[in-house]
């Protein structure tokens, strides 16, 4: 073995090592990270008591509740019945305003709950949930997967047929991720069931079972794909899907970023009914969804080339024989275009429709869709696209889900929007609520619409409705499926009086600490003695907090929808016995009994009395700008945050916003001050009138400052004027001795295209951006080699020099600021100042 060679190693570092980053580059990332840590910190203050999962959007397949609630509730076998319903079996007084008769009493004989007895033997955590895995419209069954832990794979599947529920075997499914591409699918004749499972190694196994009258399954292993390469174990980049062909053959696809020597591509297998599956072709696709009626084409998902998120996957047609993938486009795509869901529906006449939930401009996430999403349908033969539904709820949709067509009437479908089932028609008419129940449609079978319904006590059941919303049957889940549940139950059974639902318009908005517009998106208030639900949603990073208040006004539960995991959104339901709610300056804060801080009493009118911080209310800023800019209908849209380099300190962070004409606005985060308007991209809006006199323009600038920055009087002697022009663009500019600056810029015709105001920002002395020399430099706590070394800066890095000091030995040292904000000292010979730069002399501290 060759021994290390210090010279060679030194030269390798020199050869390979790029310069250290500009501190500001890392500062922005650090700020972003700190925002994230603050969010985590706040979340930790909440006592997580019970978890559940809602995976919606692209992969809506799971709707979850805490089984503990079932266990403790009448529905789950508890003791309390609802006297109003006199229904000891269900105790299900839900949504009296629903067009579903409340407390309808399905025949007890019709409910045969869980004839199987496969125990859950391994429970990784104590957050039991019920998840709905799959449905089918081809055969009147519903498969229900009961999980002891979201995504744990420790799942048990139940099969609902007619009025019977039968347990299926517990699969050896230990992979911590699964998604609806893996959901079981029935063969066209309804006699076979195929499903895939992902093992602990990450490999997938495809199983097929023949269904006999005894409802027992004896699955056959059809294909096993190897585990993906390292780095591909986590979805979304290791996907599979399968679909039955018209002649009973089964197609199975698997795809990964690196699989079998392929880069970011899929492999298609075909199983002809016996033996093992054989590889058919490879191509630029990810998951096969369905086969065309003639079996020659497969409808597949594929990643859009410029996007990495799973949600941005697009559609394609895979020509089975050639492997060629043809791109299907529902709408012209933009940078933030998202296809949220992928469904292939077979209508009653046998024709197929590709159904997708599409948004041209969407927030990332799986449960909250923004950008005015549309539900689109494409006829794959004609490529004609129809709009099935488009949002009317403030450009934001919560929990939009799978679409199911009426097998008797292909023009009719049911879908879930904002947790409520809607009935729609292909003719483009507005979908109408099917039920006020908090419910997710699971299937539209020959027997009716299957909904998973959750009541306010978070008990859950399956309902079978007819197309008019009348309840035909109900199935309950047993408590026994969560034998190890230890979560805090709802200690007192909730009873509810007659309810009245009111929905308030979205009018309360504020900006939260992460700089995202947040608003009360829905408030439902019960009658006195009833209940209230308040949903708070933030844009951009879709996290929704919903507070359910009990009849006494005390919060009963908090729902938090998260999309941090881009693959599967989570809805956690947290139960509180003791909780208070407070509205701090910018955040909605929920405190448990041990929390401190100002606690506001809760009441039925809590939501409408949320105080808003004017500094962070976009409405208020909009009102100001309308006055300043003489625009009556200006509206701002949050774009994000960035470093503000025009301020006295190069470390200020600003929110960036745009108006509908494209102007850019920057609001400094610490002070909430509007510090910049940039309309250089809007010169075409400038009036074409005659050029104004410079003195007129200057007067306009001072007048504008009087409105926008009333605290600044540029004539009070503290400001020096540095106004100038570049051609026909005039910059009226004043600054003080501390680096603060105001500037208003006009075109000659009087169009305001720039405004800068750093008056309210902390001032700062002069500094110089310098370059570290080829040897790099060490940074010490003081100006001398005897001081402690606190950092090293790589060669050619940019460094901020704030002062200089000549030590007693004649050495000149520069005071430099590290990217952590810390000050230190570096020897001047290792730093190259820009030509002519002057550095103020400073005295080292003690």
């Amino acid at each position: 073995m060759t021994e290390p060679d210090p010279d060679l190693e030194r030269d390798l570092r020199q050869a390979l090592r790029p310069a250290d980053p500009d501190p500001r580059r890392l500062q922005a990332g650090r700020a972003q990270l700190l925002q994230a840590t603050r969010t985590q910190r706040q979340q930790r203050r909440w006592p997580w008591a019970l978890g559940a999962t809602l995976a919606a959007g692209a992969l809506v397949a799971v709707f979850a509740i805490g089984l503990q609630a079932l266990q403790q509730s009448p529905l789950g076998g508890g003791a309390t019945a609802d006297p109003a319903c006199n229904n000891p079996t269900t105790g299900y007084p839900l949504n009296s305003t629903s067009n579903v008769p409340p407390c309808a009493n399905p025949t007890a004989a019709g409910t045969e709950a869980f004839t199987g007895s496969v125990p859950i033997t391994a429970v990784a955590t104590l957050r039991p949930t019920v998840g709905i895995l799959t449905t089918t419209t081809a055969f009147p069954q519903v498969l229900v997967r009961v999980s002891s832990q979201p995504n744990s794979g420790l799942d048990r599947t139940h099969w609902v047929e007619g009025t019977r529920i039968v347990s299926l075997p517990l699969l050896d499914n230990a992979f911590p991720y699964w998604h609806d591409m893996l959901k079981p699918r029935f063969s066209p004749d309804g006699r076979q069931l195929a499903w895939a499972e992902a093992g602990a190694s990450g490999g997938h196994t495809l199983w097929v079972a023949t269904i006999d009258q005894s409802l027992s399954l004896a699955p056959t292993r059809v294909a096993t794909t190897p585990p993906p390469a390292d780095g591909d174990k986590a979805p979304p980049f290791y996907l599979s899907g399968f679909a039955w062909g018209p002649n009973g053959e089964l197609f199975y696809s698997t795809a990964a970023t690196a699989l079998g020597g392929l880069d970011n591509a899929g492999v298609l297998y075909r199983w002809l009914g016996e033996g093992a599956a054989i590889q058919v072709t490879t191509g630029a696709f990810h998951a096969v969804l369905a086969l065309s009626a003639d079996g020659a084409q497969a409808y597949v998902t594929r990643l859009l080339p410029e996007n990495a998120e799973w949600q941005t996957a697009g559609w394609g047609v895979l020509h089975v024989l050639t492997g060629q993938v043809e791109v299907l486009t529902f709408r012209p795509t933009g940078d933030r275009a998202y296809y949220y869901s992928f469904e292939v529906a077979t209508l009653g006449d046998g024709s197929q429709r590709l159904i997708t939930l599409y948004s041209a401009s969407a927030a990332r996430g799986t449960t909250v869709l923004t950008g005015e999403p549309e539900l689109l349908s494409m006829d794959p033969q004609t490529r004609q696209v129809e709009v099935l539904w488009s949002t009317t709820s403030g450009s934001m949709v919560m929990g939009a889900g799978d679409v199911f067509f009426d097998p008797q009437d292909p023009g009719r479908f049911v879908l879930s929007v904002d947790g409520r089932p809607y009935l729609g028609r292909v003719d483009g008419s507005a979908p109408v609520p099917l039920s006020d129940a908090w419910a997710t449609p699971l299937a539209w079978t020959a027997e009716g619409i299957v909904l998973l319904v959750t009541d306010k006590a978070y008990r859950q059941a399956l309902w079978l409705l007819d197309a008019q919303g009348a309840l035909r049957a109900q199935f309950d889940f047993p408590a026994a499926d969560a034998p190890n549940a230890v979560n805090t139950p709802v200690t007192a059974p909730q009873t509810y009086g007659p309810e009245r639902t009111s929905t308030y318009p979205i009018e309360r908005r504020w900006m939260n600490s992460a700089g995202l517009r947040q608003f009360v998106r829905e408030t439902q208030v019960g009658t006195p003695g009833g209940w209230a639900v308040v949903s708070v949603t933030q844009e951009g990073d879709p996290v929704t907090t919903t507070v359910a208040l009990s009849e006494t006004g005390a919060p009963l539960a908090v729902f938090v929808d998260r999309s941090a995991d881009a693959f599967s959104g989570f809805r956690d339901i947290e139960f509180y016995e003791c909780l208070s709610i407070e509205q701090q300056a910018r955040d909605l804060v929920l405190l448990d009994c041990t929390g401190d801080g100002l606690t506001l009493p809760t009441s039925m009118v809590w939501a409408s009395s949320l105080p808003l911080d004017p500094n962070y209310d976009l409405d208020e800023i909009e009102v100001q700008l309308r006055t300043w800019l003489d625009r009556t209908a200006l509206e701002l849209t949050m774009q994000g945050e960035e470093l503000f380099l025009n301020g006295p300190q190069p470390v200020d962070m600003v929110w960036t916003l745009t108006d509908d004409e494209g102007r850019i606005y920057k609001i400094e985060q610490q002070t909430g001050t509007l510090v910049e308007i940039d309309a250089r991209g809007q010169f075409d809006l400038a009036p074409s009138g005659p050029a104004l006199d410079v003195s007129e323009l200057r007067a306009m600038a001072i007048q504008f400052l009087a409105r926008a920055t009333p605290a600044v009087d540029v004539n009070d002697g503290r400001w020096s004027e540095n106004s100038n022009n570049k051609g026909n663009n005039y910059f009226f500019d004043w600054s003080d001795s501390n680096g603060r600056r105001v500037q208003v810029a006009y075109t000659a015709s009087g169009f305001l295209f720039g405004y800068l105001n750093t008056f309210a920002l902390p001032g700062r002395g002069a500094f110089v951006e310098a370059q570290v020399g080829p040897e790099g430099t060490g940074v010490r706590t003081g100006p001398g080699y005897d001081f402690e070394l606190i950092g090293e800066i790589a060669m050619f890095s940019t460094i901020i020099v704030e002062g200089q000091f000549e030590a007693t030995d004649g050495e000149l040292w520069y005071q430099v600021r590290l990217n952590t904000g810390q000050l230190g000292w570096a020897q001047s010979g290792e730093i190259v100042l820009p030509e002519g730069a002057g550095v103020p002399a400073v005295t080292p501290g003690p």
Partner: protein, 175 residues
Amino acid sequence: MHDEDSPLIAAARRDPQAFAAVYDRHAPGLFRYFLSHSGDPAAAQDLVSQTFLAALEGLSRFRGDGPFIAWLYGLARRKLADHWRTRHRIHPPPADAWPDSSELPDLDRAQRVRHLRRLVAGLPPDAQELLRLRYVADLRFQAIAAMVGKSEEATRKSLYRLLGRLRADLEEPDD
């Protein structure tokens, strides 16, 4: 197994804001690593952010049975893979795109460094990656070994064999 990040990680588990200290320690190295791969400072900055956000999000999944930095760089490599996938594989810049070594005081050494860059560019990707992890990211053998799935000793041997090969190539007269 000693892991110098353990105290910081323990603190971050108690209080997520303490994770900023982890950022301060490792962000510059990660930036260099990404920059050496992509040649694009803006992309490197973005990838550093993405990696740390992913690390913060997944900190509970870090079991501590290997060095934290190996886990962090594992995340980094995935982010890099994602980056490449979406950017149609932007290749690292050519060797002469790096800072001009002519400013080095020793002209012979500057020439040798340029030659070295060309030699490294001709190595297989996994060998380049090994050099990057060691001399750009400044990772210890223990961490590199955990990442590549070899023993520390085997990793050390691989690197030294590589250095020997480079030294031999350097000593060959130019054509």
